[in-house]
Every structure is written in structure tokens, then in C-alpha cells.
Amino acid sequence: MKKTKQLFACLSLMTLGLGTAQADYTLNLMKGVTKVSNDIYDLHMLILWICVFIGLGVFSVMFYSIYHHRKSKGHQAAQFHENTTVEIIWTIIPTLILIGMAIPATKTLIELDQVQDSDMSIKVTGHQWFWEYDYLDNGINLISRLDEASNKARQPNSGIDPRNVPHYLLNVDEPLHIPTKKKIRFLFTSKDVVHSWWVPDLGWKKDTNPGFINDAWTYVDKPGTYRGQCTELCGKDHGFMPIVVIAEDQADYDKWVNSKLNPVETATKANWTKDELIAEGAKVYEKNCSTCHLADGAGIKGTFPAITASKVVTGDIQAQTQLILNGKGMMPAFANLLKAEQLAQVITYTRNGLGNKVGDEIQPAAIAEMLPKKAGAKAEAKTEEKVVETKEKSVATLEKKPEKSAKKGAEKVEHSAEMAVTDLVAHGKSVYEKNCSSCHGADGAGMPGLFPALKASPVVTGDIKKQVELMTAGKGMMPGFGTTLSADDFAAVVTYTRNDLGNSVGDSLQPSAVKSLQSAKK
């Protein structure tokens, strides 16, 4: 036994020595910058050492035995095969150790659950493949994507050495700012698939589930920049949607909030030269378009159209602009995602770069006129904030809450038969060709595996209201047409799909019903 002890002590010392040496290389868990993350770190170290000691204990006995009780040394095998006392001891001792671990673990877990009494709330929405942050208290909305330098370097065989890119894959264009010494509550949800938001320095990660809200909180003491990544497989670019949190003291944070709420009017340059537009446009393209259409504009056959020699890009500039503003098929509507300048730049770039030589250009001012008015964006955020603020009360009052107008809206569908079905179908055909046929096919056959067929589709031949909702809100790759189509066009195309393309449901949808249905949604 003496020898065992010596070996044991020796090995522990070695491990300790290694432990200190390893600290410089961040081989261990990060301590983090919050109380909870420190608690978790302490818990981690406690269990780690328990595990190391148990492991060393067992292995020492085993290796002692392997060394001494070998046949080649002439050891005679004993024939014992049980020992109740020993067996009881080695059942009870681990149980006690487990209880010892469970107590601090329970405390920390309960502390992590205390989301109430927060000073501010931020809603985090996961997207394929970027993060969206809504400050529920002041209406700031941020879209946070992988920064440009990393994005360039991570392209296959980019020729750029990631070692030369600062914070490769851990940097974003628009970091999340939070104040220090404030209890911040995060609400997590997702627009598409499950993601997971993890900043190791904060001590936890939380999944973002579509259709549900998860919450968590943090309280950061030390100003600094803290980096993390998505940790739930969310598709192609799962590895490329990092998180950057900048914690700063209240004064700096307020300054940042002000700059966000009242952006300094960077005196919109009235006239850009074509070369300027193209130069800037290349950057915008790289960041926003190249994921799908590829860096050289070649696209992916069958899925993402090529930009080079594209009919849209080399055709009418107004039509191209409309398409980019409103989106089409899998392509998102960029009206709300990019600024007028950026739009002008990228459109001009696509027409004069990537192998195209149309020669014309579009100015930001022209785009600005085509953009939908942004009124109400802030107001919307405000109401959302209120909703969340009233949460604690609302749980109690919930059952009494009057039912909103959803049903009333639905009733209206039956009234107001103003347009004949044939008219709707005729008009719908043109709307369909413009907005739907590129994905679902002119004959409604779709594209197996990518775009569902409309012919005999359960959605189209099923409940009309469900179809309207799907088309209003979008689903998967399909964009929401709620705002991009007028009520007339919307009603017409719905009626068309239900009564043509091989379907004969027989019902119709009136423009007035569309309006009431959509307002009921709000």
C-alpha cells in the first residue's frame, strides 16, 4: 500500500504541474466574466479534481496489480470472487461523493434560472446563418453576421491564411453591445431551425427554438469583448455565425445607444460615380450575395442562378431593383436588410462586374424612392417591449384576455363577392408567372426536393385560410408575400392556384378577404 500511495502522490504532482503549464494555452474551461460563470468554473474544477483522484486511485491499484500479479513473476492466482464488505463500501462512497457534487450544482442551476427582475431585455433571434438582436427597451434592431475578412478567408481555397485574419471566424460586422453591472435578460427564439447561442465567458449556452422563447440572464462586471459561436448544427453555415458581445460601462453604452437611435446623417452623397458604386458594391456583394451566388457570380446550377450573364442583371435595371427589394423564391427581400446606398452599389456592381458589362448604374436616391416607408418599425418594437414587460402580470390575467379579432376576420371571407372567379384566375395567371413560376414552375410541377409542386398540393387543395397564411408569412425558402403583393394580386394568385395548374378546388378568395385576413393576423 505504501508504494501505491507514493505513486498516487507522484502522479498527482505531475498533473498539477501540467495544470499550471496548461493555463497559458487555455486548455481548461474559461473562468468567464460573470458570477455564474465563475461558479460554473469552480464546479467544473471541483468535479474535475474528483474525477482525477478517482481515476488515479483506480488506475494505481490496477497498475500495481498488473505489475505485481503477473504470471511471469510466478504469482499464483488467488481464487476469491466476492467480498460483500468491499462491494458495499465502493457503492456507498461514490454515492456520498455524488451527493457532495449535487449540492453546489443545484445551487448554481437555481441561480441560473432566476431571470426575473432584469434591468433590460434583449431578444435574440437565430437565422440561417446570422443573429438578430432586438433591444426590447429602446427598439434597436441589429443584424449580426460573420465579418467580411473572415468570410472571404473561409471560402474554399481562398488563398488567404486564416492566421492573418484578426479573430478569424469569431468576428462580426455588428456586435451586440451591453452595459456592465446590469442584469440583462435574453429571450431566445429562431426564425427557422434550432440554433444555440453560446458565449463561453458568460457561462452558458441556450438553444433558440422556432416558435418558442427560451430565456437566460447575465450580469457582466468587466468591460470587454466576448466572443462565441452557434453551437447547434443549423445547416450549411453553422460554423460561420459567430457572436460578439461588447460589454461597456453605462456611459459608453448610452453613447452607443444614441448613435444607433439617431444616426449621424452621413449627408447622403447625392451623386456617386459609377466606379465608386462598383468598388463599394463588390464588398456588399461579397457579404450578402456570395454565399449563394458564389464569389464569382457563377451560382449553383439548379439551385442558385448565376449572376454572370443573367437575364435579370443584364436586363431592365428597374426590374432587377424590384426583384432585389422584394426577394423572389429563396432570395430574401433586401429592402429591409440593406441601405439604399448599399443597394445601389451592389446593383451597379452586378451589372458591371462578375463578367457583366451593361454599363449603366443606379443612384441611391432612385432606390430610396422605391423603398417602402419605414414608419412604424420602432413602434412595433415598442409594443413588443410592452408585451414582455407585462409578462409577469399577464400570466395571471391571461385566461381573461379578450380574444382578438382573428375570428372576426375569418368571417368576413364569406361576404363581399366582388370579383368573378374567372377574372381572378386570369389575373392570377400573370401574377403567378411573375412571382411564383420560377420556383414552382410555370405548370405548377415544382422541383422535387426543393420546391413543392402546387399541383395536387395539400396546401393548395386544402384549407384556403392555411394557404393564405403560408403565403403571407412564408415558409422555409418561400418568402412571405404578405407585404410584397397587393391584396388584388394576392387574391388573384391564390384563386388561380386553386383553380388551375391541374387543381380544381372550386373556391375563390376576394381581395377584401385578403385585407381582413391579413389585418386579423396583426
Partner: protein
């Protein structure tokens, strides 16, 4: 357990049907997958595979029946078969447990979170995302998915479903009556009992078909009607499928009884079919309580 030279545990020395059946099933599923992906050839392969699979069933079961009748199976083999059937039924129970579990989870947990009832991980889900949603079973969710204009009627318990309960329960009785006939060497009772059981089974399926038709055509209740429609049709649909399978198995047993198969000592096929039928019966009782009544 013990075997001797005259009463040995029968071990077949080759088997052609398993690989044929596997090929059939594989072809059928590959065809179905292609069909779902929109390929035109899919359904052809599906049907071809199904044909191969059915011929395997016919061939293999004929072989088993003949071997059984020629006395090749000793007591030990019988025990193995009974164990096999028991554990197979256990696996079926676990399969249904998934859908009952789903029903429980959506009714008691996720619906409450969506509706803002109680405190839990979803405590803000209702207010932040689905403020208009009132959680009340039956539901097609906050998005009012499916149904007629998002509305639908749920299936009441005391109409056809109650009739169906009586049908299945009495079929359980007739099945046991047939078994008593078999044990008492009363072949007439055996055949009559089995005929009654099979008829009641198919009658049940017919009622179920009427119920489905009504749901689809009048009540706005389809497989796509939110979580209520999904759980309703998934549970009752898989049960209906099992009733069909059970009734077919019983028909085969009936056919064999006609041909004079089975003795009071040796009638594993009958027992297996009866066990299966009782299992289907019990699942229905679960359905009647948790899907229709509650």
C-alpha cells in the same frame, strides 16, 4: 428445454424466403421514397416490392403451416415462437407509446407554453410570439393550421367511436369463444367464433372509414389540422392499420381451421393471432379514453 434425438429442436437448414422478403421490402420502401420525392417510377417499384413482399408472406407462412402440421415443431420450438410473438407485441406497444406520449406532451406541455399557462421555459413564448392564442384542447395551434378557414370540429366519443368500442370488445369475446371451441375440439364453434371475430374486425374498419370520411368532408378535420389532427389521425390511423393486419392474420387462421389444422395441444398460430387481436383491442381502449373521451 431438453432435446433428444427423437424430439429434437427443429433447425431449418436453409431459408430462401427471408432474402426474398427483404428484397421486396427494400424495393417497396425505395420506391415509396422515390414517390415522395416526386419521381414517376417510384410507385411502380413500390407496387412491385409490395407484390414480392406479399408472395414472401404467403410462401413463408405456408411453409411454416405445413411444417407445423407435419409435427416438426416440438414443445421447445413452440416456446420460442410464443416468446417471439410476445416480444414482437411488446415492440408494438412501444411504437404506440410514442404517439400516446406525443399526445400527452402536446396537450399538457407545449400547448400550455404556447398559450402562456404556467411557468417554465416557455414563460415568454405566449406573450412574445403568440399573444392571440388561447390554449384549449382540441387545438390546431396558434397558427390555426388546417381545418376549414382554420376552424374544425373535434371527434366526439359517443357516436361511431362508441359503436366501434363495442364492436372490438365483442370481437375479443368471440375470439376467446373460438379458442374455447378449439380446446374443446369443437371445430364448429372454432370456425363460427373466428368468422364472427373477423367480421367484427372488418366492420370496425368500415366504421372507421365512415368516420374518416365525415372528418375530412364535413368537420374540417384532416391529418393537416394542426396537432389535434396530426395526433388524432396518427393514433387512430396506425391502430386501424393494425386492425386490418390482425383481421388478415385471423382470416388466415380461419382458413387453416377450415382445412382442419390445429389441435388442442398444437395451435401456436391461433394463439399468436388471438394475442395480437387482444393487443389491438387494448390499444383501442387507450385510444377511446385518451383520444375520444378526454
Amino acid at each position: 428445454m431438453s432435446t433428444n434425438a427423437h424430439d429434437a429442436y427443429y433447425i431449418p437448414h436453409k431459408a430462401v424466403w427471408p432474402i426474398i422478403g427483404t428484397a421486396g421490402l427494400g424495393t417497396m420502401l425505395a420506391g415509396f421514397a422515390n414517390y415522395l420525392n416526386g419521381s414517376a417510377a417510384g410507385s411502380t417499384f413500390m407496387i412491385a416490392g409490395l407484390m414480392i413482399f406479399i408472395s414472401m408472406l404467403v410462401g413463408w407462412f405456408t411453409l411454416q403451416a405445413n411444417e407445423s402440421e407435419s409435427g416438426m415443431y416440438n414443445h421447445g420450438v413452440g416456446i420460442s415462437y410464443r416468446m417471439g410473438m410476445m416480444w414482437f407485441i411488446f415492440s408494438e406497444i412501444m411504437f404506440f407509446a410514442v404517439f400516446f406520449g406525443t399526445l400527452w406532451y402536446t396537450r399538457n406541455l407545449s400547448m400550455d407554453w404556447l398559450g402562456g399557462i404556467g411557468d417554465g421555459p416557455g414563460r415568454s413564448t405566449h406573450d412574445a410570439l403568440w399573444a392571440n392564442y388561447e390554449a384549449k384542447w382540441p387545438t390546431n395551434g396558434p397558427g390555426k393550421v388546417g381545418g376549414k378557414e382554420g376552424e374544425f370540429e373535434s371527434m366526439g366519443a359517443f357516436g361511431l367511436p362508441f359503436v366501434n368500442t363495442l364492436l372490438l370488445l365483442s370481437s375479443g369475446v368471440t375470439c376467446t369463444w373460438a379458442h374455447h371451441g378449439l380446446l374443446a375440439k369443437n371445430r364448429d364453434q372454432l370456425i363460427k367464433g373466428l368468422m364472427a371475430t373477423v367480421s367484427l374486425g372488418f366492420l370496425f374498419v368500415a366504421c372507421q372509414a365512415i368516420e374518416y370520411h365525415e372528418a375530412y368532408s364535413e368537420m374540417g378535420l384532416t391529418l393537416g389540422t394542426g396537432i389535434y389532427g396530426s395526433t388524432f389521425f396518427m393514433l387512430t390511423g396506425f391502430h386501424g392499420l393494425h386492425v386490418c393486419i390482425g383481421a388478415i392474420i385471423l382470416s388466415v387462421v380461419l382458413f387453416r381451421s377450415w382445412k382442419g389444422h390445429f389441435t388442442p395441444e398444437n395451435h401456436f398460430a391461433f394463439e399468436a393471432a388471438a394475442w395480437y387481436w387482444h393487443f389491438v383491442d387494448v390499444v383501442w381502449l387507450g385510444l377511446f379514453i385518451f383520444v375520444y373521451l378526454m
